[in-house]
Amino acid sequence: MKVREVAVIGFGVTKFGELWDKSFRQLIAEAGAKAIFDAGISGKEIDALYVGSMSAGRFIGQEHVGALVADCAGFSQMHIPAVRVESACASGGLAIRQGFMSVASGMSDIVVVGGVEKMTDVVGNEATNTLATASDQEWEAFFGATFPGLYAMIATRHMHEYGTTREQLAQVAVKNHANGALNPNAHFQREISVENVLNATMVSYPLSILDCSPVSDGAAAVILCAADKAKKYTDKPVKIIGSGQASDTLALHGRKEICTLEATVHAAKMAYKQANIQPKDIDLAEVHDCFTIAEILAIEDLGFVKKGEGGKAIDKKITTLNGEIPINTSGGLKAKGHPVGATGVAQVAEIVAQLQGEAGKRQVKDAKIGLTHNIGGSGASCLIHILEAM
């Protein structure tokens, strides 16, 4: 299929955290403005807007989010098409793909893609209930399965089949906190130790509170542009060379294998094929570590290590900032924070920063090709993008 190449010409990310003073509208307006200034475009050049938001309806009682975001970004008088997409925790990644397809197909020349979630306007219990809507409400949540519980069951099985240990899971959190400490926008900017993780309050065995990503507020935005026009706006455009998306059974118990997220495998295959590269060509990746076990599964399912070897890879420090394949240089969902709808877009922003050489203390040397991996629920959907410095 003949499609145009698409590039990212700018990005903007807000601080992630418990942002009591910032509303949903303020957050997305802030991220959008930052991205537009970074790209050096005029608002008039935007053809369409895509935004990922998992559950504005439950978090802030607000639907009709596409129109809302266009409005608070100041675009109401431009009357552009505004699309809100949802794929649970992969809403941001899905927004990227929808924006990508809009430009690739020629329907738009320039689009702004944002992701936003305001999770702290509701009490903790309600935030947990809302996150649980990413699981199977009738056949998992109804019976008492919590969202951390589902990933904990993946961890138990992974430990049983491959000998993965709680210490290895903990090291994922430790590494991501070390990276987050170097990221001025991260929710948590302090380091933690393996002991901290092992001794923290148990949420759902074997995952403690420090194995779990936090509830955060935040927004991120990127500007996509037809690649052949990108250099007009920036001298450091980054091309999206591959985009992949896949779905799988909603309930974890419906999967073929508990320890393999086939949605990742299929989305990755699609993206690698489009980009015409292999996993070994990837220099760094932002993966979906909603829980520590999810990062272990990701590096296996993306083909960076063999199935079952994720724990060993952590032990061998392959995925640290200075390792063979740095994973989650931003701090990941664990330390950077996980404002659900924003995550997928923030992942792209991090890779773009790295490929542009603008990742500050987190910079990976000679980063040429990066990958973002965004999962919905316990693996029912997956969005993957591969980016390359132009």
Binding site: N129, E138, G144, A145, G149, P206, H253, G254
Partner: protein, 136 residues
Amino acid sequence: MVDSAVPRFWREIPQRYNLLGNQCGVCNKIYFPPMESCPICRRKSMNKMKDFKLSGKGEVVTYTITHVAPEHFEGQAPYPIAIIQLDEGPRITAQIVDCDINDVKIGMKVQSTFRKIQEDGWLGAIYYGYKFKPVK
């Protein structure tokens, strides 16, 4: 006022009380909960799915002990949740009861039992369904 949608849960009584799934009329694969069509045979199986009552016997494939309970389950924590492979093929997610939480193991043989799953507060309806207990 009550929160939950009573019809939504009433509709699933045959599944929650009696483990009523269905079987593909083409390839004979058994599904729980019942599927409108078989994901393997797809179109060929439409209108050919037959009711099938599962026995409730199975074994634990994986589990977790949930310490931070969700709404409606307060007071029960810590409790085990497991994915159970039913003898007839489908897998199901449910609580394990009548055993010490430290005794739950992958491979443990279990049998379904009828218990209260949750209730819609003090004014709302009570929802019953399956949990699983170990068999010797």
